[in-house]
Structures are given as structure tokens and as C-alpha cells.
């Protein structure tokens, strides 16, 4: 069973990582949810004992073994935090879409760099040659094609 749990954790984690390194922000969030799922599974699987539901009175009397209640409490915490964070991430994506009209990481990076360069230009008026975009933004756009 140990091997089976480890394999399941690894597969879910790997799929999550694959999604996290995509360009589509919604996929990134899905990847984060998968990684959190693998973490919860890992926590629950790490319970030191397996057995009856840890509700007293235990079915087998006082000496019977119950499932480890500590990992269950931790997993509960993890689940709640995951759901909250996911909600926050999804609202962030919505905000990004509203302000940038895209959910593509590369487009957003380009926009961010342009903004930084505009700020730089405002602070140092002497670099005025290329007002539209700086070298960094150009390079990034090139790369994303």
C-alpha cells in the first residue's frame, strides 16, 4: 500500500506541475489544486495507524486501533486553505482579464515589462529614443511567438 500511495501522490503531483508550467493561467490554477490534492493525500496516507473511525467509543473496545486522527485534522486544515487560496487565485485571474484582456502569462509579462520601462522613462527622461517599447519587452514578445 505504501508504494501505491506514493505512486498516486507522484502522478497527481506531476500532472499538477505540468499544468503549473503552462501559459494559460486557468490551467496554472488547476495545477495548483492538483498539487494541493496530492499534498492532502500524502498527509492522510502518512497516518501512523489505520483502523476504525476515531470516534469514541471505538467498536473494538478501548484497546482497538483507530485511524490516526491527527493527520485527518491536518488534512482538513489543508483542504480549507486550498479552497480559499483557489478562490483568491481565480478572482485574481478575473481581475487580470478585466485589466489586460488576456489570461496568457506571456502577454501579461510583456505588459508588466512595458509598464516598468514606462516608469523608468518617467524617472530618467534622458532615455527617450524608443518610446514604444524597450529592448526587454521586445525580446519577450519575440520569444512568445
Amino acid at each position: 500500500m505504501i508504494l501505491a500511495f506514493s505512486l498516486a501522490v507522484a502522478v497527481v503531483f506531476g500532472s499538477g506541475v505540468f499544468l503549473v508550467i503552462q501559459r494559460d493561467l486557468l490551467r496554472v490554477v488547476v495545477g495548483i489544486v492538483l498539487i494541493s490534492n496530492s499534498a492532502s493525500l500524502f498527509i492522510v496516507a502518512a497516518g501512523l495507524t489505520r483502523g476504525a473511525v476515531p470516534i469514541v467509543p471505538l467498536p473494538g473496545g478501548d484497546g482497538a486501533s483507530a485511524s490516526d486522527p491527527l493527520v485527518q485534522a491536518m488534512a482538513l486544515t489543508a483542504l480549507i486553505i486550498t479552497s480559499s487560496v483557489t478562490a483568491l487565485l481565480l478572482s485574481l485571474i478575473y481581475r487580470l482579464y478585466v485589466s489586460h484582456d488576456t489570461m496568457d502569462i506571456e502577454d501579461i509579462s510583456v505588459a508588466e515589462l512595458r509598464e516598468a520601462e514606462a516608469l523608468e522613462r518617467k524617472n530618467r527622461p534622458e532615455i527617450e529614443e524608443n518610446p514604444e517599447k524597450g529592448p526587454a519587452a521586445e525580446e519577450l514578445e519575440e520569444r512568445s511567438r
Binding site: M1, L3, F18, D24, D68
Partner: protein
């Protein structure tokens, strides 16, 4: 009665307390009223001097308090001879320098058009410097020593860069901080090396237990490196002349009683360890000789007053290091005496340079001269100091050279000859400084220097002369300091002898040679300039510049790679973490550490559920459309809830079902908020170089597998906390153990979790409301 005796046993703390209180007191006074900072600071320096003298007069003593006993660190300070000498120097010279600054600094700030309020910062850091020096002098624990050591570096950084609008001052301050700060780490490593072997950080205890060997040699070299860098010895000397960008009182203090003196103070403190290894003493000898010659030759070539003095300091501390390297009782006590006499003379010369630059606006020897008529008192006072530096009779300096010659004679003829040559070079550059300033053709007219810029020089010059006539008190102090370093009484009897003993002959030889060097300037001037140019082209400063430049470029590169976009930022965190985990797995023994575990009969539904979860997770990787993606994701989540149910965790199952429902609705809601066209375009995104991504996720997956498998393979403990929890649950008026844990045993965790949820709700509401709270 017991309270009184307890207070008495803490009496040695008094100087340190007064010295450390000085900086905040001056800062506070300065914020209340800028004019108050100088008098309060000066008064505190005087108080600290008196406290040190009083405590030393009462017999010194040791205070030993537990600091971090489990790590062998103790707060041990002692006012022994060495500590008294350096603490008296730091506070006494500090007092004079601050008195000088009270007039100098307003002029300096006025010239640069800066507000008077900036003075408070100056006094604050000067006094912090003083407090750190007193602490450094008294510390007996190597880690405590390191703390004060770094405190002096911090204070010096702010003082050198006091003119912070000046890029040169900032670069110089950074150089001083880097050179002394990086080598300070070597001191810490050396201390920990000794601790690892001998189990103590206390210098007196170490002195009793260390034995010659590789450990001592390595640790001693590391500590000596830190000390030599602080004392600006070759090859670390380049930071000191650059540090002349600081205001003159800072330079005076830095050179005579703080920073640079801290290096030789450390040598004196750890001398009982160093002297056990002849190799370490030989290293000190070589470095000392190199510094004497490099410093002296370059001092003969410099035109800027403070530069000349800076190189002279390098050369003079070279003598101190040389004396420690010579070893023996004359070495230890002679080094201590040398520090005192050099401090008095050098401080006076620096203050002279500052006063002259204030008076004339010039800082180059070639444009100055003939100032005797304009500034007669300054000429006499600094003449006395210069005579002291050049070791003329009837000054304290004469005895420093007498001790040097005696120590060198003990080692043999070669060293005696070298020390005579060094003394002659000292005479030559001191003559160049004083003669260049005050002799020759000059304009007449009364000087207009304020008294506060002259009387500290006069006091120092007077002390130099006084030491030449009544050497007893200085000799006693140096003897005590020498005894603290050497571990046995070091009787030195400086006195004038009117006979033909070798030291007298050597002194006469040095005077004659010095005059010859001054007179034959045209013969060697070109050679000295060539040495100076060679040092500029190939010296260690080049190495420093190259290193700083390379670091800057590396940092720029890493910064650009890191902040390029979201993925690189995440990768910058995850990659090092992965490397660490990988290293952890690699060094952990693997034989017998991995278990497959047994599959019971009832486990097949569980296995099936795990397979479904894995397949669903894999499916998400090639699903294109977002709605399908959300549904597959929630499918995986619901089956995972089933897995929890099989594992006997009903609460987790219920919450997981709830959370999955919530997440599914969230994803579907988001897809509804964002127009179909954008989502559709997004789904058709060119997926780029997928093979690279597949490779990286497989790698990550392998790591996760290794970590999970090795963690889960650890055998279960005999007595688990689970039984305890189950037993205690009824006492918490609960039957369900998990809810007892959440609501009672670990209630604070739950409180934190509730806070997170509340914050997230606020955040989501704000984001959906276009950045405003609803």
C-alpha cells in the same frame, strides 16, 4: 548586603555600559536640539574614560554571565590590561576627537550646505564606534568578540559614508565594509573551528587547552586574516587610504583608537593561541615587514595629506604586527606600547591635517608650506606629535623604537637591520609631512582657527612629550597589556641610557639613515613612484574591483532571470528547494529504507480509487477545453474524497466533497465570467515546447515519488500520539477525536485558518469590485 556585593561583582560592566549608552544619549539629545548632540556626546566620552580608568584603578575584574550556554557561548567581559589599554584609548581619544568635532563638524556641514541636524547622526555613530571598541576590548568570548567586531564595521560604514551625496565616499565605505566584513566571517569560522575541537569559545580557556597542530594553524590563520584586514595590512591595505573620504575626525579616530586598532587588539587578545604555532608567528612577521615597507614607500610618494598619513598608519601597524610576530615578552608588551604612542601621535597629525585644510582650503602638500608664522601653536603641537611618530628623544616615541629594537635584537641581526631601516623610513615620511606643512616660504598673517581645532592637538602633543619625560604610567599600562597577551609578567623598562648599548646605536643609525633618505630624495623618488604605480596596476585593489564587478554582473543576471515572468519567479523558489531535496535523498542511506507495504484483502476498492484519481489527474494534462478541465478536476477530487472514506476519515471525506463542490462551482463561475471567445482562444494556445514541460514535470514527479515513498516507509512509532488523542477526547466533551483536535487541542491552528478564510473573502470581494472594498 547581598545586593550590594552582587552590584560590586558586576562593577567591571560599568565602562561598557557607559560607553554603549553614549550613542543613544547623543542621538536623543540631537533629536531634541541639534546643538546638544556634541556636548552630550563629548561628556559621555569623558564619562566612559573616567569609568574605565576608575574600574581599572579598582583592579579590573571579570563578569561572566550565561548567554547561550547550550552552545558554549557566554557573555564574558573582563577589564584586564589589554582591555584597559584599548578602552582608555578608545574613550580618551574619542573624547578629544569629539571635542574637536564640535567645532569642525559645523564648519564641514556649513561648507556643504547641509543642515545642522545631520550632526546628531555623526555623534551617534562615533559613539557607537566607541562603545563597540570598548566592548571589543573587554570581550573574552570569541562570539561576543565577533559581535562587537561587526558592530565596529557597521559604525565605520556609516561614518566613512557620512558625506553620502558623494559617490566616492559611498564606494569607499562599501569597500571598507566588504573587506573587513568578509574577513570577519573568517574570524567566526576560526572561532567555530576551535569550538568544534576544544568545546569552548572563551579565549582564556582556549589558551589553556589548545595544542599545536593543523586545527590551531587553520583557525589561527583565519582569525589572523580578520585581524590583518581590519588593521589594513598587506594585502588588505587598500581600503584604508580610500577610507580617507570620511570627515577628518573620523579618519583620526579610525586610525588611532578604533577600527584599525581593533585588528591588532584582536591579535593581542588571541596571542596566547597564536604563539603556540611558530608558523603563525612567521606569517605575522612577513606580513608586518611587507606592510612596513609598502606603507612607508607609498607614504613617501603621496601628495594628499590624509593619504600620506593613511599609508603611514599601514606602515606603523605593520610594526605592531611585526612585534607580535617576533614573539617573546618584548614583542607582546612592545606591541601594546607601540599602539599607545602611535595613537597619540597619529591622532594629533590627522587633526592637524584637518585644521590646516579648514584654514587654507588646501589638502595637498605641494600647495602648502610655511605655515609656522600663521599657526604657531599648531606648528609646535603637531611638531611634538611628529617627533613622537619619528621616535625622537624626549618623546614617548623614542621608547617605542627602543622596545622594537630590543625585540628585534632578540631574534637576530637581520631583523635588527630591517627595523632600523623601517625606523629610518618613518623619520623620512614624518619629516616630509611636518616639514612640508610648516617650513619654507609662507605668507604672513594671523591664523583664524577656532580654539577647539587646536587645543585637542595641543593636548595630544603634550601627552607625547609628557610620555617622553615620565614614561612610567604608559609603560605600566603596556606591561599590563603585554602580560594579558603573553600570559606572564612582561617587565619593560623604558629609560634613557647614556651609553653605547646596541639599542642606542640602532636609534642613532636610524636617525642618520632617515636624514640620508630625506636628503637623497631625487635619487629614489622615481623608484618609489614606480612602486606606487605598479601597486595601482597590479595591486590587490584590482582583484577587489574585479570581484565586486563580477558579483554585480552575476546579481544582475540572476535578477533578470528571476523576475522575467511568473514562471521564472516560481522556478527561482522551487528549483533550489528541489536541489536541496535531491541532495537530501542522495545522502540518505537507501538500503532497507524503502518498503512496499502489504496489501490487505479489503484494500482493493482503495487501490481502484487511487488508480482512478491518477488517471483523472493525467487526463487534466491533455484536456483542452476549460469546462471539461474543471469537470475532470472535480472528478479527481470526488474520488479522492472516496479514498479518504476508505482510510477511516469521515470528516475529511465530508469536507473534501464540500470543497470539491465549491471549487467546481468556482471554476464554472469563472468560465462564465470570462467571455467564451477568450477562453476558446486560450484553449488553442500554441502549447510551445511541450517535451521540455513533460520532462520537467516527470522530474518533479520523480522527486515527489522519492520523498513520499521514503517518508511513508518510515516505520510507525510504538506509542503514537493518536492513542493519546483518542483517550483524551472524552475529557474535552467530545466523542469525535478529530473535532476535539480541531476545536480544542489545536484550536489556535483553527483560529489561524479561520483568519485566512476571512482575509480571502475580503480579498475576493475587493478584487471582484475593481479594487474597492464593497
Amino acid at each position: 548586603m547581598t545586593a550590594l556585593s552582587a552590584a560590586f561583582s558586576l562593577a567591571p560592566l560599568l565602562p561598557l555600559l557607559v560607553a554603549l549608552l553614549a550613542a543613544p544619549a547623543a542621538m536623543l539629545a540631537g533629536t531634541l536640539k541639534p546643538r546638544l548632540a556634541a556636548p552630550v556626546g563629548t561628556a559621555f566620552a569623558a564619562l566612559a574614560f573616567l569609568a574605565t580608568a576608575f574600574t581599572w584603578y579598582r583592579g579590573g575584574g571579570t563578569v561572566d554571565l550565561a548567554w547561550a550556554p547550550t552552545w558554549g557561548m557566554r557573555f564574558t567581559i573582563a577589564l584586564d590590561g589589554l582591555a584597559a589599554l584599548y578602552a582608555l584609548l578608545a574613550t580618551g581619544i574619542g573624547f578629544l576627537v569629539l571635542a574637536y568635532s564640535s567645532r569642525y563638524l559645523p564648519l564641514h556641514l556649513d561648507q556643504e550646505g547641509r543642515p545642522e541636524a545631520e550632526g546628531a547622526r555623526f555623534y551617534g555613530f562615533m559613539l557607537l564606534f566607541m562603545g563597540a571598541m570598548v566592548g571589543l576590548a573587554m570581550a573574552q568570548d570569541l562570539v561576543l568578540l565577533f559581535v562587537f567586531w561587526d558592530l565596529t564595521a557597521v559604525a565605520s560604514y556609516y561614518l566613512i559614508a557620512y558625506d553620502r551625496h558623494d559617490p566616492d565616499a559611498r564606494a569607499s565605505a562599501l569597500m571598507a565594509l566588504l573587506v573587513t566584513g568578509i574577513t570577519a566571517v573568517l574570524l567566526l569560522i576560526g572561532a567555530l573551528t576551535l569550538y568544534a575541537t576544544y568545546g569552548t569559545l572563551s579565549v582564556p580557556d582556549l589558551a589553556g587547552s589548545v595544542e599545536p597542530g593543523v586545527t590551531l594553524t587553520v583557525a589561527g590563520l583565519l582569525i589572523a586574516c580578520a585581524a590583518l584586514a581590519k588593521s589594513a595590512q598587506v594585502p588588505f591595505h587598500f581600503w584604508l587610504p580610500r577610507a580617507m573620504a570620511a570627515p577628518t575626525p573620523v579618519s583620526a579616530y579610525l586610525h588611532s583608537a578604533a577600527m584599525v586598532a581593533a585588528g591588532v587588539l584582536l591579535l593581542g587578545r588571541v596571542y596566547p593561541l597564536l604563539e603556540k604555532s611558530q608558523f603563525l608567528l612567521d606569517v605575522l612577521l612577513v606580513v608586518g615587514l611587507l606592510s612596513i615597507s609598502v606603507g612607508a614607500i607609498l607614504a613617501l610618494t603621496r601628495d594628499v595629506l590624509k593619504q600620506l598619513l593613511a599609508y603611514s598608519t599601514i606602515s606603523q601597524y605593520g610594526y605592531v604586527v611585526f612585534l607580535y610576530g617576533l614573539g617573546g615578552e618584548y614583542g607582546a608588551a612592545g606591541a601594546a606600547f607601540y599602539v599607545v604612542s602611535h595613537a597619540l601621535a597619529k591622532c594629533a597629525l590627522f587633526l592637524t591635517a584637518g585644521a590646516i585644510t579648514e584654514e587654507t582650503g588646501e589638502d595637498r602638500l605641494s600647495r602648502l608650506g610655511g605655515l609656522t608664522k600663521r599657526l604657531p601653536l599648531l606648528a609646535v603641537a603637531s611638531g611634538a606629535a611628529a617627533a613622537g611618530l619619528a621616535a625622537l628623544p624626549f618623546t614617548i616615541g623614542f621608547f617605542k623604537d627602543e622596545l622594537l629594537f630590543e625585540a628585534a635584537l632578540e631574534r637576530g641581526g637581520l631583523f635588527a637591520a630591517l627595523s632600523v631601516l623601517g625606523a629610518a623610513l618613518t623619520i623620512a615620511y614624518t619629516w616630509r609631512f611636518w616639514g612640508g606643512l610648516f617650513l619654507g616660504e609662507g605668507r604672513d598673517g594671523a591664523g583664524s582657527l577656532p580654539a577647539a581645532l587646536v587645543w585637542p592637538v595641543a593636548v595630544l602633543g603634550g601627552l607625547v612629550l609628557l610620555g617622553g619625560l615620565f614614561v612610567e604610567p604608559f609603560a605600566l599600562l603596556a606591561e599590563a597589556a603585554g602580560a594579558a597577551s603573553y600570559g606572564a609578567p612582561t617587565p619593560i623598562e623604558p629609560a634613557y641610557h647614556l651609553d653605547l648599548r646596541p639599542t642606542n646605536l640602532m636609534a642613532v643609525g636610524a636617525f642618520a639613515l632617515g636624514i640620508a633618505i630625506v636628503a637623497s630624495r631625487p635619487l629614489w623618488e622615481r623608484g618609489a613612484l614606480a612602486v606606487s604605480r605598479f601597486g595601482e596596476v597590479l595591486g590587490p585593489e584590482r582583484l577587489y574591483e574585479w570581484g565586486v564587478d563580477a558579483l554585480n554582473r552575476l546579481s544582475d543576471y540572476v535578477h533578470r532571470a528571476e523576475v522575467r515572468d511568473l514562471r521564472s519567479r516560481v522556478a527561482a523558489i522551487l528549483l533550489p528547494a528541489g536541489v536541496l531535496v535531491g541532495a537530501g535523498i542522495l545522502v540518505t542511506p537507501t538500503v532497507g529504507a524503502y518498503r512496499t507495504g502489504e496489501v490487505m484483502r479489503g484494500d482493493f476498492p482503495l487501490l481502484l480509487a487511487l488508480v482512478v484519481v491518477a488517471v483523472a489527474a493525467l487526463t487534466t494534462t491533455f484536456t483542452r477545453r476549460h469546462v471539461t478541465l474543471a469537470l475532470v478536476l472535480s472528478g479527481a477530487g470526488f474520488v479522492l474524497a472516496l479514498v479518504y472514506a476508505f482510510l477511516g476519515a469521515p470528516e475529511v471525506t465530508l469536507v473534501a466533497v464540500l470543497v470539491e463542490t465549491f471549487l467546481t462551482l468556482l471554476f464554472l463561475g469563472t468560465s462564465k465570467l470570462i467571455p467564451y471567445k477568450v477562453l476558446h482562444d486560450q484553449a488553442k494556445l500554441p502549447l510551445g515546447n511541450q517535451w521540455r514541460r513533460v520532462f520537467f514535470s516527470c522530474l518533479a514527479s520523480l522527486f515527489a515519488f522519492a520523498v513520499a515513498w521514503s517518508a511513508l516507509s518510515q516505520p510507525a512509532a510504538e506509542n503514537t500520539v493518536a492513542e493519546e488523542h483518542v483517550r483524551l477526547a472524552p475529557d474535552a466533551h467530545a466523542q469525535d477525536t478529530v473535532s476535539a483536535i480541531l476545536a480544542d487541542f489545536r484550536a489556535l491552528d483553527t483560529l489561524g485558518e479561520v483568519t485566512v478564510v476571512a482575509l480571502v473573502i475580503l480579498g475576493v470581494a475587493t478584487l471582484l469590485n475593481r479594487g474597492r472594498l464593497p
